[in-house]
């Protein structure tokens, strides 16, 4: 005998209780604090802030804790929180030229004004598991000096002086806001960059890598990569001037790309641009490569049909919150649709069977 | 700033606008029906129904055109305080507010584009009364409905533009009716 399944509500409550228990794990082990996550898993925190589009290390750390370390789940928590926040206004455009750089490298010039600063990078570490860390994570103090202050010129500006670099004219048009207006195609560069900066790191990396392997190749050099803090200023109408409301750590990547010229432009170098919250350099470099690939049309290049050149493809599939939601929704019941498919397939098979019988008889 | 500039909004904005929206939606979904709408007390010449519609639908993202008598200090100040909507000319508005004669000619309002017919203006027309009148047919109407309209021809012309065109909300006291572009008028 069949009894209709009831008790969805109880099942959900019990699942949530179990989830909470699993999140905590063995209670003999000390619980993680938000501060520990923020300080010791800071690159995870940075990724959650970048793709969550909300600069708040403590909230990002809380999201990581709540999500049991599932970063896409943590990003989702941050996005859903962010969307409920009231908007007080927009900041002035950030000036990365006055960044207090923790890291600044150029792959195109051996030395440059302001110097190369390696900063806290994994780059030249040997990837050997450090078993000492398992027992004792204390460190000796790294040598330090005072941060350089003042303007740190961008490498691309040096090339620009020679006229070798594509012009990037100043533009004060307020950019569209992806989070307040539906995405519309064709998307201009400001909108594309906005989508890319919160795009999934893995997806962006894969696309960028594909351009390097020839799917829309554009010969990128890292003109400059800089990581550091930048003041955020906001215009206060009551005061009549902008005041500093805080600072954010950003990663900025400018690529210099070869360009053989088009009907209207002489051969010169072109730009790809990446700007991402936090220390997120893999993402920033990937973003710059994908940005450059998407610029084929405005630069008069050929569309070779590479995935990274296809703005609709890239922008509609880069958001991991949209992607994971839709992907995972196939776990929901679909028995109504499936039933109608069952009926259809049975009917088609019946008819095909009947036809075969008839053909055999003829 | 006048005292009545600050007053006259919904007592509870979330609840007040939820009820008001249902009235507007029912009116737009069922052309020819008259719906009650309350909760707003704007300064004259805005009627309570007009005020409620504007509070429900307008904010800083919706440019409003005030036509004729409606373009007065009292209405501007009240709308600026309660909605923050920018005031613009008829060619760039999302909502136009006025009596029928003051809103003419209709040809100046945006009617949308073939790819985005929704990028069109909604005209909110202040009326002196609701009565039976023109015959309406189309989506939202079971067989036919009637509604007193300031004229017939303008709505017939508007219907020929479908799916482009203008949508209309008529307000009178604490009541409203609507006429979407899909309605055939005779």
């Amino acid at each position: 005998m069949y009894v209709a399944v009831k008790g969805g509500e109880r099942a959900i409550e019990n699942a949530h209780a179990w989830l909470a228990e699993e999140r905590r794990g063995n209670t003999d082990i000390a619980e993680l604090s938000i501060a520990q996550i923020r300080e010791q898993l800071s690159l995870a925190v940075n990724r959650v802030m970048a793709e969550g589009s909300l600069y708040d290390p403590d909230l990002a750390a809380l999201a990581i804790k709540q999500a049991r370390g599932d970063l896409i789940e943590a990003i989702f928590l941050i996005r859903a929180y962010r969307t409920t926040l009231p908007r007080f206004g927009a900041s002035e455009p950030l000036d990365t030229g006055i960044m207090a750089c923790d890291r600044r490298i150029s792959a195109t010039f051996k030395d440059l004004p302001g110097g190369q600063v390696l900063g806290p990078t994994f780059d030249y570490t040997h990837r050997l598991l450090n078993f000492k860390l398992a027992a004792d994570g204390e460190v000796t103090k790294a040598p330090s000096r005072d941060a350089e202050t003042g303007n740190v010129p961008h490498v691309t500006e040096f090339l620009n002086r020679e006229g070798l670099m594509e012009e990037a004219p100043h533009d004060d048009t307020p950019p569209p806001d992806l989070t307040r207006e539906p995405l519309e195609m064709p998307a201009d560069r400001a909108l594309r960059l906005q989508a890319l900066t919160r795009a999934d790191e893995g997806f962006t990396l894969g696309l960028a890598y594909s351009t390097q392997r020839g799917y829309g190749r554009n010969h990128a050099f890292v003109g400059e990569l800089r990581i550091g803090s930048v003041p955020v200023e906001m215009d206060i109408p009551e005061l009549g001037f902008a005041v500093e409301i805080g600072e954010v750590i950003l990663t900025e990547c400018e690529t210099v790309n070869q360009f053989t010229g088009s009907k209207t432009e002489p051969p010169q170098f072109t730009r790809g641009y990446g700007l991402v919250f936090g220390q997120t350099e893999r993402k920033a470099i990937s973003m710059a490569l994908v940005d450059r690939a998407l610029r084929w049309e405005e630069l008069g290049e050929d569309n070779v049909g590479a995935p990274a050149q296809d703005a609709e493809f890239v922008l509609y599939h880069a958001d991991n919150i949209q992607a994971t939601g839709f992907l995972e929704h196939i776990k929901l019941p679909h028995y109504v649709d499936f039933q109608s498919e069952l009926e259809l397939v049975r009917k088609l098979r019946r008819e095909a069977g009947a036809q075969q019988v008839q053909e055999a008889a003829e | 700033m006048q005292a009545n500039t600050l007053s006259g909004g919904f007592a509870d904005p979330a609840i007040g606008s939820a009820h008001a929206f249902r009235s507007v939606m029912e009116a737009m979904a069922r052309p020819g029906t008259i719906q009650d709408i309350e909760g707003a007390a704007p300064p004259a010449p805005l009627s309570p129904a007009m005020g409620a519609v504007l509070l429900t639908l307008c904010d800083t993202e919706t440019p409003i055109y005030l036509a004729g008598d409606m373009d007065c200090e009292a209405a501007r100040a009240w709308l600026a305080f309660h909605t923050g909507a920018p005031f613009v000319g008829p060619a760039h508005c999302m909502f136009a507010v006025g009596k029928w004669d003051a809103l003419a000619p209709l040809a100046v309002y945006p009617i949308g584009t073939s790819e985005y017919p929704d990028r069109s203006a909604t005209l909110i027309v202040e009326c002196s009364e609701f009565a039976a009148g023109a015959t309406l047919t189309g989506p939202g109407i079971k067989d036919q409905a009637t509604l007193s309209l300031p004229e017939v021809e303008a709505f017939q012309v508007n219907r020929t533009l479908f799916p482009l065109g203008l949508d209309f909300i008529f307000t009178c006291g604490e009541r409203l009716a609507a006429l979407p572009r899909s309605t055939k008028v005779s």
Partner: protein, 283 residues
């Protein structure tokens, strides 16, 4: 819940959605772009329907949520609880008592009446999407009323299978103008779309589209003169209430693969059973 606004969304977001709903009602079947927000449930799990419900609900409403026709499926339970908490609305499982019904994949069996609103959760709102993946192209096709590709697809089915091989999310034409995706309802439900007394609203959150059918709108399932549209269902009576006119779920009831068919609309089935309709399989 005091920390969130009535019905969760902030007022500016609700105004934006409400404006989109009005445009949708004014242009039946046209997909209005809207700036969908991240919701506290995943995209693909009803965020479009939830945003539409949040924009139309008032505290006086009685709210019903169904998924696959059933009130007790986990996602229906989750969405119903969400609005109980954030909007304080009364909830019901009785179709006729509800003023707002949010649904995934079904239209209730019992005819809806004036004063009711049916909110659909829509995964892919674009009926042409599987024929043309580009939004820029499908938008052009709608603007030019260029639906030839859809007819070609359906006709290819006929020549290959002898039937149109679309059994759910079966495309319809609204008021002779827009081809519309009715959401993944079984085509059995398609005839209920047209001339319905209730307002029908469709929300696609991830795809950022809202569309609508006002009451008594003409909705025609696409077909051909020699292959007219046919609403189909399993050719059985319900094993619980004996109904022969309702859409049925097929259940596997034993290890030998024994099967049983029961109403997918749980409320319809329960009301019938309470009225004394029973089948031999029922308790």
């Amino acid at each position: 819940m005091t920390e969130y606004n009535f019905a969760y969304l902030d007022e500016q977001t609700k105004r934006m959605i409400r404006r989109a709903i009005l445009k949708g009602l004014a242009i039946p079947g046209y997909q209005v772009p809207f700036a969908s927000r991240e919701m506290p449930m995943p995209y693909g799990w009803g965020t479009g329907g939830v945003q539409v419900s949040a924009a139309v609900l008032t505290p006086k409403d009685t709210f019903k949520v169904i998924d696959q026709g059933a009130d007790d499926t986990t996602n229906a339970v989750s969405i119903r609880t969400f609005f109980q908490r954030t909007a304080g609305v009364a909830t019901t499982t009785t179709t006729s008592d509800a003023t707002v019904i949010q649904t995934r994949h079904r239209i209730p069996e019992e005819p809806l009446h004036e004063g009711q609103i049916l909110v659909y959760q829509v995964p892919i709102p674009e009926p042409l999407r599987f024929l043309e993946p580009r939004e820029s192209e499908t938008r052009k096709m709608h603007s030019l009323e260029e639906y030839g590709l859809m007819h070609v697809k359906l006709y290819e089915d006929i020549s290959r299978h002898g039937h149109i091989a679309t059994s759910y999310a079966y495309p319809v034409k609204v008021e002779g103008r827009y081809v519309m995706d009715p959401s993944p309802i079984p085509k059995f439900d398609n005839p209920k779309l047209g001339d319905m007394a209730a307002i029908q609203l469709f929300g696609a959150g991830r795809e950022q589209r809202i569309y609508a059918l006002p009451p008594y709108t003409q909705v025609v399932s696409l077909d051909f003169e020699d292959h007219p549209f046919e609403a189909s269902k399993a050719d059985h009576p319900c094993g619980m209430c004996g109904a022969t006119d309702s859409y049925l779920d097929e259940l596997i009831i034993d290890d030998a693969g024994g099967r049983m068919f029961v109403c997918s609309d749980t409320d319809y089935c329960e009301v019938r059973q309470a009225a004394g309709h029973k089948r031999k399989d029922a308790a």
